[in-house]
Structures are given as structure tokens and as C-alpha cells.
């Protein structure tokens, strides 16, 4: 049930309306900045650069004036992934001889010798992943699905020249994000129905792989059936609202880059340049 609840309350994809400076940035600028920051995070080789980028993202959350706990809610679903990453980095991660503390042993687990350098390396990997998740969370929390779709569409416009449907791709992404919580609700309903009929197969035992696969299939199959039914209804609803792809479409909000957008984009480009130079 916890899995369903986490999907239902999925904050990665939830839009929090507001009028902060981050909210009012042009969606194209936010999407480009997401790309630039992602490259910067991945390329950052020094621990303090990674930490600085993380702090900058945290500052952006503060500037976005999101509700208390919004960042925590974004991170909660990825905590298990972070835990697995931390353990694997500690035990099997690459040990950089140049890393401070590489020669200081802190723990011995079987054949694995965990040095202080490896602990720092694991911490950097975790902070890097945290930063990426928080970046995406910040984008979706401060940008409505429609704004995202229109921003994405304008950025994908060049694809139309080679026959790819820019608007359809953008709308598909926006709808997928919007339906995450609804699919979470459906998953929870399926789990409740199975609990009521006592067909959950008893408590979870991670080591029983075949049994767990059967349990997952029992949840996933009705979920897929529901999702396909929804797809049918959504396509009917799109037709009812005269959706014809990007052809002849206008927008309630016209996108115009202003000084704030250009400054923001310049900061993102500058940041990437600094990271590359360092």
C-alpha cells in the first residue's frame, strides 16, 4: 500500500501555483536551464563543486517559496534508490587515489576495505543524484503542465521540419506527469480490493523472487488494463476538444523572453562554463 501512496502523493510532477521569480520564468528558459544544470552536475568532478551546486538548487527552492516539505516530498520516493546507491558506492565504488582520505581506512566489511575517500565518493554520488531529482522536482513544482507542454513544444519546433510531431510529444509528456497521481490512486484501489479478498499472498519477503513477481503481476495487470481504458477515454476527450496536434494552435499565454529570463539563462550557461573550467 505504501508504494501506491507514494505514487498517489507523487510530488515529482505536482505543480504548486505561485508567483515567485522561479514560477514566472519562461518555461523554455527553465527547460534549457534544467539541461545545462544537469550537465553541470554530471560533469562536476570536485566534491565542493557538487556541494555548491546542491546548495544553489536548495536556494532556488527557497526562492520558489514552495510549501514546507515540498522538497522532502519530492525526495521521499527516491530514498530507497539512494540507500542502494550509498551501499553499492561504499562497497564497490571506484576508489580515486587522489581523493582526500583515500588512504584512511574507516571500515572493513569482508574483503571490502572502506576508506574515508570512498565514503566521501559515496556522499558525492548521493548528493549528485539528490540534486538531479530536486532539479526536476523544482521544474514541475513551479511550471504548470500546460506551460511545460508549450515550452517543450516551442523547443521541439525544429523537429517539425524533419516530420516529428513536436506538440504531440510535449503534450504526451505533460499528460504522463498529470496522470501519475491518478494511477497511484488506482494502484491503491487494486491493493485494497486484493486485501479485502485476502489474495495479497501474505507479508512481503524480499528474498522470494518468484512469489514477489507474481504479486507484482497481480497489481500491474489490472493497473495496465485501467491505464489502457483511460488512454481510450483521454483520446476521445482530446477529440471532443478539437485537438489537432500543433496545427493552427494558439496559446492563452504568449511566451516572450524578458530580461529576467535572459539573466537566468546567462547564469545557467555561466555556471556550466565554470564547472567545465574547474
Amino acid at each position: 500500500m505504501a508504494r501506491a501512496a507514494s505514487l498517489r502523493n507523487a510530488s515529482l510532477g505536482r505543480f504548486w501555483p505561485g508567483d515567485s521569480v522561479v514560477h514566472t520564468l519562461d518555461p523554455r528558459v527553465k527547460l534549457c536551464s534544467l539541461g545545462l544544470w544537469t550537465v553541470a552536475i554530471v560533469l562536476a568532478s570536485r566534491w565542493w563543486v557538487t556541494a555548491a551546486l546542491f546548495l544553489l538548487i536548495a536556494a532556488a527552492y527557497r526562492a520558489a517559496r514552495l510549501p514546507r516539505g515540498a522538497a522532502g516530498a519530492v525526495l521521499r520516493p527516491v530514498l530507497p534508490v539512494l540507500a542502494v546507491l550509498a551501499v553499492s558506492q561504499l562497497l564497490f565504488g571506484y576508489q580515486d587515489p587522489a581523493m582526500p582520505g583515500a588512504d584512511i581506512g574507516v571500515l572493513e566489511v569482508g574483503a571490502a576495505d572502506v576508506s574515508l575517500g570512498r565514503v566521501i565518493g559515496a556522499a558525492i554520488a548521493i548528493v549528485r543524484l539528490l540534486s538531479l531529482v530536486m532539479l526536476v522536482g523544482l521544474l514541475t513544482a513551479t511550471t504548470s503542465a500546460s506551460a511545460l507542454a508549450s515550452g517543450m513544444e516551442r523547443l521541439l519546433l525544429p523537429l517539425n521540419r524533419i516530420g516529428l510531431p513536436g506538440h504531440e510529444l510535449a503534450l504526451t509528456g505533460a499528460i504522463a506527469l498529470r496522470f501519475l497521481p491518478i494511477l497511484g490512486e488506482e494502484l491503491e484501489a487494486v491493493q485494497r480490493a486484493q486485501l479485502a479478498r485476502d489474495i495479497t499472498g501474505g507479508p512481503e519477503r524480499p528474498w522470494q523472487l518468484a512469489r514477489n513477481a507474481r504479486r507484482t503481476a497481480a497489481l500491474v495487470v489490472p493497473l495496465f488494463a485501467d491505464a489502457l481504458q483511460r488512454v481510450d477515454e483521454i483520446s476521445t476527450a482530446l477529440l471532443a476538444r478539437c485537438y489537432q496536434g500543433g496545427r493552427g494552435r494558439t496559446y492563452m499565454r504568449e511566451l516572450r523572453l524578458n530580461a529576467k529570463d535572459l539573466i537566468s539563462l546567462a547564469i545557467s550557461v555561466g555556471l556550466l562554463v565554470i564547472v567545465v573550467v574547474l
Binding site: F15, A145, L239, A240, C242, T250
Partner: protein, 281 residues
């Protein structure tokens, strides 16, 4: 009077040639501008299929549906037909594709290529008409069922249709939300809009000026609500119930108190009982 929507010998078949179900079997119907029509019938009788054919969402397997003279078989006319005959589906959650009320209402006019200033005017007007002012930035997914239903109507109103088709739009609503949506429909009807509602609720049917009863893909009965509900036995055969006021009238009639078989609403029932009471007094 010229038909706003005309349906001639409409057949609709789901599936392929090998394995198919004929949902509509020779339906013919004329709907005039400004009419309030209710379509009722048991599950699988073809009500929703007919509603989708009327709004150009399904193309006939054979026969013809014309809206303002334009055929739904003509692909070039379909966008215009869908904008003229707005369709509200049963589950609003599966109609919403954006993340705020105002974006949702703007989606239709944006698809129609309406200029931005006009979209903003239409959005404000539609939101006001359904009584959702102040909720423009809310996430549609987080609205109550009643609000979602009203938003679905607002999303259609912003396209400025001449006709609204509602496919069991009140099915999942509580009595208060249903009452609020029905009041909105009455208001739109009074303003001259054609309303076509597909429903299982017989009390809703009494608001319509004409009722079409569907049975196995064909029109079984049609007429004013009082005429249709006077055919108790036929309705029973189609698995349909009488509205509560008509059922009470039949119960009283069986005990010798005749109020008239044309009683279909609670207000009319009360009026007749009071008139009888005062007449005897």
C-alpha cells in the same frame, strides 16, 4: 422547424467484420435548435454511442448525422462539428489534460486557434458561468467531484458550442452537486443552448422537453416526459423505472385517487394533491 441535428438511418458497429457488435441499428432523429432532449435506456442500449455520433466523435458505419447541414462523415467538417456540439464525458478525470483550472478551460479554444485575448475573455466568462471564480489556479485533479463536473462543462463552454451533450455527467455526483449541475444546464437551456443529456436518473429526465428511450440500438419510445412516462408497462419492459412522483401517482391511482398520468415532477404532484384537497374542502 429545420433540424439543427438530423440523424438518418444511423448504424454504428464496434469491432471488425469478423467479430462485431451493432450498437446502433437504424436510428433516425431530428433535434431542433434550443431543444432539451434526454436520452435514456438500459446499459448497452446504445445511448452513449448515439451521443458520440451526434457530437462527431464517432463516424457512422452507415446512415448519416448532420449538424447544421454538415455531415459527420466529412473529415474536413469534423472540427467545426465538435466545436458546435460540445461533449462532456462521464469521468471528468479522464478529460483533464492540464494542471490548472484556467489552462483546462483554455485548452479547447487554443486548439481552435482562437486569438489569445479572446481566449482569456472566454476562459473568464466560462469560469464565471459555472461559478468557479477564484479557483483558476487550482489543480483539476484536486477538485471535488461536483467541481470537476462543472469544470468539464466550463471547458466545453469556452469553445462556445451551440449544443451541449452530457454523457452520464451526473452519474457519480452527490445530490447537491447534481442539483447544481442541473441548475446550470437549465440556465444554459434558458439562454438558448441545445441540451442533450444521457442519463439513468429519471428525475433528471423530467427536466427535458423531449425524451428518447433507447433499446437494443433502436429508438423504442419518444415524446414529452409525461407521454413517455405514461407508458409504464413499456418502460418496465426496457428495465426503466418511473420518476418518484410518477410512481407515487400510480400508487395513489391503484388506491382510487386519480391525479392524472401526466404527473412526472414532485412539484406537479404537490400541486395536484393540494388542488384536490382544496376542491374537497
Amino acid at each position: 422547424m429545420d433540424a439543427f441535428i438530423s440523424v438518418r438511418d444511423l448504424h454504428y458497429r464496434y469491432g471488425n467484420a469478423g467479430e462485431s457488435i451493432e450498437a446502433l441499428r437504424g436510428v433516425s432523429l431530428n433535434i431542433v435548435r434550443g431543444e432539451y432532449l434526454a436520452i435514456v435506456g438500459p446499459n448497452g442500449s446504445g445511448k452513449s454511442t448515439l451521443a458520440k455520433c451526434l457530437s462527431g466523435l464517432l463516424s457512422p458505419s452507415s446512415g448519416d448525422v448532420r449538424v447544421n447541414g454538415a455531415s459527420t462523415r466529412d473529415a474536413a467538417a469534423l472540427v467545426g462539428i465538435r466545436a458546435t456540439v460540445g461533449m462532456v464525458l462521464q469521468n471528468p478525470d479522464n478529460q483533464f489534460v492540464t494542471s490548472s483550472v484556467e489552462d483546462e478551460v483554455a485548452f479547447g479554444p487554443e486548439n481552435l486557434g482562437v486569438p489569445p485575448a479572446e481566449i482569456r475573455r472566454r476562459v473568464a466568462s466560462a469560469i464565471e458561468r459555472v461559478g468557479m471564480c477564484g479557483q483558476e489556479l487550482r489543480d483539476p485533479h484536486l477538485l471535488s467531484s461536483g467541481e470537476k463536473a462543472r469544470l468539464a462543462v466550463a471547458a466545453m463552454l469556452a469553445m462556445e458550442p451551440q449544443c451541449l451533450v452530457l454523457d452520464e455527467a451526473t452519474a457519480t455526483l452527490d445530490p447537491r452537486s447534481r442539483g447544481s449541475l442541473l441548475a446550470l444546464l437549465t440556465q444554459l437551456y434558458s439562454a438558448g443552448m441545445t441540451i442533450i443529456t444521457v442519463t439513468h436518473h429519471m428525475t433528471e429526465v423530467t427536466r427535458a422537453k423531449r425524451v428518447v428511450v433507447m433499446e437494443r440500438g433502436q429508438i423504442a419510445l419518444t415524446g414529452a416526459p409525461a407521454e413517455v412516462f405514461a407508458r409504464d408497462d413499456a418502460l418496465k419492459g426496457y428495465g426503466l423505472a418511473l420518476p418518484p412522483a410518477a410512481a407515487v401517482e400510480r400508487g395513489l391511482a391503484r388506491r382510487g385517487l386519480e391525479l392524472g398520468r401526466d404527473v412526472v415532477t414532485a412539484e406537479e404532484l404537490v400541486r395536484r394533491v393540494v388542488a384536490l384537497w382544496e376542491g374537497e374542502g
